[in-house]
Amino acid sequence: MKRAFRTAAWALALLATPLVGCAPDGGGIQSLKLAGIKGRGTLICGVDGKLPGFSFVNPDGSYSGLDVDICKAVAAAALGDPTKVDFRDLNSSERFAALASGEIDLLSRNTTLTLSRDASGGNGLSFAPTVFFDGQGVMAPKASGITSLRGLAGKPICVESGTTTELNLADRMREIKAPYTPLKFQTGDQTYAAYLQGRCVAVTSDRSQLAAKRTSFPDPAAHVLLPEVLSKEPLTPATVNGDPGWADAVRWTIFGLMQAEELGITQANIDVKLAEATANANQADLRRFLGVEGEFGKQLGLPADFVVQAVKAVGNYGEIFERNVGQGSKLKLERGLNRQWTQGGLIYAPPFR
């Protein structure tokens, strides 16, 4: 009898779990999420997984890319080990639900920061600093002779459903009064497969994504990006609203990568810089930044040397960029807007004070 009762109680508890959310923490320094990650010993990171340059599964099963390196940097900062990351492949429609339900800790999946995604009345995300300033573009086969958006009037265009690109395309085509047929697919793979099969005369997405996907086409040179940039697409990692402590830890880890580039600290020279700062009591800025003195780490709930760990793991922002999408990669994208502010770009870390 007692046992049956216990079984029933378990069944009830199991039934009820999906609906029992965590009550939002009343603020304070302690972050539930960060405590959970430390307890678990791994960071669960949502990525695309199929986008060369941003997140891609290598032949040996490991992940690489700019989005992936952000995950590794956060894992290194929070846990001291960049390998302690579980990656989850998510498509564009799944990503917000996965974050909201707590299935992933960090969404680092070429996601555009928008008002409705940020607002608590919308998707209710909390965005970290933008790691890639992108814009929406359109790709068409060279042989089609299409050279501008106007050339697409009346034609079918492939687009991934549930993305901002879908809305931007609708807006721009309405502006130039060009009717078109949107063909929507749930995954990027399906979208590009339909495009390559010739079902649509063009495919639209972020320009970096188009360039990345093009490298895996049978004949990359046969496809051109149209000159128009349809929108601003600041690709930004995100955490869930309601845990400001965790959001701050992610935000300042990423700022740390950017600040490291500005200060000329690289994966190769970080040990030298650290030794220099430790030996030299006058370099107060550097000492605080690298956690030799001050309590920046403690204030965030991270180890004092979180910046050192992150840079050691993946290098500074510039190194991450060049290795994954820049000149050191197949994509060969220009830094463009993603240069440091000191060189006319938009990458700008607020002061570490």
């Binding site: 039934l15 917000f96 034609k155 079918p156 929507k184 697919f185």
Partner: protein, 326 residues
């Protein structure tokens, strides 16, 4: 009579937990109460958590402009119209493919089911191979196959297959005086390849199951009925139509009901081949508005209503074909 005769003294001895009239009521009452408490707890929890996340159920967003386009709609739609119009356009697209699918699957399924009783060995075996092949492969894979391998392999543009009054191209089937305008086929009546792939997938898949239901129904009619009809001079086709099928229908119709419902539900796999159905529109809506609970509720309600309608119609049909007692 017997109950009235119970000795009141003896009845008083029976303890309440052995009372055959009281216990069922008590058990059901307690179970009902437990269910109510559970539901109230879950709903309360949902509302409490949504409230604390600032996401109380609200429907006002349905009136906001959708901002995205929906292709191949029967209802006129553009990006400036509100979300509810987009969802309605998606619903109409779903209903369209379900209705066409029901007709197609019934016809094909009946033919294949009857073919498995054919005296022609080749036809009989073909029917078996078809059923075993189709029903043992997941529908999603079949849809991807039909769309990417078969339909998208059609030639496009000038090389399209041209027949009198119709053109079959990569972009679809164009009927009634089709013409090539600016490299794109146009015609007053057109069916896209997305619709074609989804319909073909749903029809062939569901037909395999319907064929089995029909086969079971026909097999349930005793051999004597066939022999009697033949001895009265009916031809094989007449026997089937006048004697066997009317009796088989009594067994077939309840089985058909669940196949029809499956077809309606399976239509939501349309996302695999780019067809804009209710699910596809709802998914975009969910992504744009962040109104996950409301959108999912709408989806649940829509598919429930479609399936209940199919069920009601089939139950009506079932009563028509049952033996009427005189």
């Amino acid at each position: 009579m017997g109950q009235g005769a119970i000795n009141p003294a003896a009845a008083g001895v029976i303890p309440w937990w052995r009372n055959r009239r009281l216990i069922p009521w008590l058990v059901q009452g307690v179970a009902g109460l437990a269910l109510l408490v559970l539901v109230a707890f879950l709903v309360g929890n949902l509302v409490r958590n949504l409230t604390s996340a600032g996401l109380l159920l609200s429907w006002s967003w349905l009136g906001n402009p959708a901002g995205f386009d929906v292709s191949e709609t029967l209802l006129p739609f553009n990006a400036g119209l509100p979300y509810w119009r987009a969802l309605a356009a998606g619903l109409v697209n779903t209903v369209r493919v379900v209705l066409a699918g029901l007709v197609g699957a019934t016809v094909l399924g009946t033919l294949v089911g009857v073919a498995s009783f054919s005296s022609n060995g080749l036809l009989r075996r073909l029917a078996r191979v078809y059923v075993e092949l189709i029903r043992n492969i997941p529908l999603l894979l079949q849809l991807v196959f039909w769309y990417f391998v078969v339909f998208l392999a059609l030639p496009g543009g000038r090389e399209a297959i041209q027949l009198p009054g119709m053109v079959l191209a990569k972009s679809g089937l164009f009927l009634i005086r089709p013409e090539l305008v600016n490299g794109v086929w146009q015609a007053p009546l057109r069916l896209t390849v997305e619709f074609g792939a989804l319909l073909t997938g749903l029809v062939t898949y569901t037909a395999a199951f319907i064929a089995e239901v029909v086969r079971g129904g026909v097999a349930s009619v005793s051999k004597g009925q066939w022999e009697a009809a033949r001895s009265l001079g009916f031809s094989p086709l007449q026997t089937l139509r006048r004697i066997v099928l009317p009796q088989a229908l009594r067994v077939i119709v309840p089985g058909l009901n669940s196949q029809y419902i499956s077809l309606a539900k399976n239509s939501s796999l349309a996302v695999a081949c780019g067809y804009t159905d209710l699910y596809s529109v709802a998914e975009t809506t969910l992504n744009q508005t962040g109104r996950a609970v409301e959108v999912v509720l709408i989806l649940l309600a829509a598919y429930l209503v479609i399936d209940l309608l199919i069920s009601a119609l089939m139950n009506g049909l079932n009563q028509l074909v049952q033996i009427r007692e005189r």
